[in-house]
């Protein structure tokens, strides 16, 4: 985490954090990190004491909810600058079995976890319903697994870039049918940090202000849904919370045709098929058309709307508390035009990040835009 904070300072051209007014700790799990009130330790570690701090948690949406909360702190006038630092140790600390148990604690423990359920299983049941309703195929969602891992190859911070084919994905070990090993995202250790500030604060304190196009946090939406998939019956193919989050964010940003009006997006690809559901729920394509659209290459680097240029959760990695922040960093770098040339989207002016908790019990959509 300290490395991410120093990288952020270097990027902002700041020598220290003395002018920063507020801290915000973003992490999901006391269990994975084996530390409660981790936020207090992080605030201490980076010398932000005695300034105010708050910890934000929202499952898989933690990092995006953290940025949304930080943005609310700034636009409300509570502070003019806030350092958002996110971290999680999901990767090396525990076995896959323990990791799945700990993640399953964020399902409904009495009714979903104790029967032997895992998130892979819940997501699998959901995409099976999507397949039954719309004819979505395993081959279509394998395309996501291939493309995002390929994109990761153009991102130096990615955890697991891979050069694989659709057939490799289809032939990989079944985990929770219809999801196979290569349809599943990564368990990761990682950290990320963003300094969010008013324009006046940035002008006054950041020596590098003005070197790059000004990017602002233009809109945010947050939706919720029932904890258990079964309670959503008969709507079990898609994410209602994501539709609500997108509706709010698009209203705020004045977007009516998201596919045409958004240039780059980081989507929550916890499983390959989830990206298909996301492009529908975010309104990029109509319900049921996500499978063919993804397989057509519409969301590839040379497609109509490049998504997961970073590699996504499948290729870049998924340290939960950092994930939504990593997405915002990727989108911002795309808007600045400083991403690796092999994954840079030309003239990107507006970007979107999409994350959710569980099977979208909480969903957060944030939008970033160039001001010029």
């Amino acid at each position: 985490m300290a490395e991410a904070v120093l990288d952020c300072l270097t990027d902002a051209g700041l020598d220290d954090l003395s002018a920063v007014e507020h801290g915000l700790a973003s992490y999901e799990s006391d269990h994975f990190n084996l530390q409660m009130t981790l936020g207090a330790i992080l605030q201490d570690t980076i010398g932000l004491t005695p300034k105010p701090s708050v910890r934000i948690e929202g499952g898989g949406a933690t990092g995006a909810l953290a940025l949304r909360t930080a943005w609310a702190h700034v636009v409300s006038g509570l502070c003019d600058s806030i350092l958002v630092y996110g971290v999680e140790k999901n990767g090396r600390g525990v076995s896959s079995r323990t990791a799945n148990q700990l993640f399953a604690l964020s399902a409904d423990v009495d009714w979903e976890m104790m029967i032997g359920g895992t998130y892979t299983g819940f997501y699998a049941a959901m995409i099976r319903a999507h397949m039954a309703a719309f004819g979505t195929t395993e081959r279509q969602f394998a395309h996501v697994a291939v493309r995002n891992r390929r994109n990761a190859g153009f991102n130096p911070i990615a955890q697991k870039a891979m050069d694989i084919s659709v057939d490799d994905v289809l032939a990989s070990l079944p985990i929770a049918e219809p999801y196979k090993l290569l349809d599943c995202s990564l368990l990761s250790d990682g950290a990320a940090c963003i300094l969010l500030a008013t324009e006046d604060w940035a002008k006054a304190h950041c020596p590098r202000y003005g070197e790059r196009p000004r990017v602002y946090f233009s809109a945010s939406g947050c939706g919720t849904d029932t904890m258990r998939l079964g309670d959503r019956y008969p709507q079990i193919t898609n994410f209602r919370a994501k539709r609500e989050a997108a509706r709010q964010a698009y209203d705020m940003a004045g977007i009516s045709q998201p596919l045409a009006e958004i240039d780059v997006a980081e989507l929550y690809d916890s499983y390959s098929g989830v990206e298909i559901q996301a492009v529908e729920d975010l309104g990029f394509v109509a319900e049921g058309e996500g499978g063919p659209a993804v397989a057509s290459g519409a969301f590839d680097l040379d497609g109509e709307l490049p998504v997961n240029t970073s590699g996504g959760l499948l290729g870049r990695g998924a340290p939960v508390g950092a994930t939504g922040i990593l997405q915002a960093i990727e989108v911002t770098q795309q808007l600045w035009g400083v991403a690796d040339a092999r994954r840079q989207v030309s003239d990107a002016r507006r970007g979107l990040t999409d994350t959710h908790a569980g099977i979208a019990s909480i969903s957060v959509v944030n939008i970033f835009e160039r001001a010029d």
């Binding site: 049918e177 999801y179 079964g230």
Partner: protein, 178 residues
Amino acid sequence: MSDKVSSQIEIATIAGDPTTDPWREFRQVERITLELTQGYKYSLGKYSRFFIELENRRFMATRCDACAKTYAPPRPLCPSCLQPTTWQELSGEGAVETWSVLHFSPGSNADVRALETPFVLAYVLLDGADTLFPHLLKAPPEQVERGMRVRVAYSEGPVQHPIHLMYFVPVSTYEEAP
């Protein structure tokens, strides 16, 4: 391996350019094993009657008459009108709406650790209910299909978690071996 630290897994050095890495003094990382086990005196709260009735081989849902909705799993509070619900027994028969075949068990409790993989996790629309009930379906994975008629079968235990006093079986299997 250290002979002074019994739990030591490794001392690894993270790769980096020692001439430019600002963290070069801190790139050695020791990993050790930690064991932390908690037991819980865990309350099943307002759901308790569901689990108690499983011992009597009865499957209970809750109903909100005002909203005309029957919840399985039970909801003590109707989320639509915020009134307490009432218990209602269902037949335990229903149809598979969606499912997954799990080849990996997280071993969340002793009952789950005893499962053989692969196993079927099914979402069942019970007759008379308005929501889907998730549970294990003991049927050959290749025979499961949407709309398949299933019913609740009861276990005599002993089980660790009372949710395992029940599971689903295909109606056809149940009639062959009651």
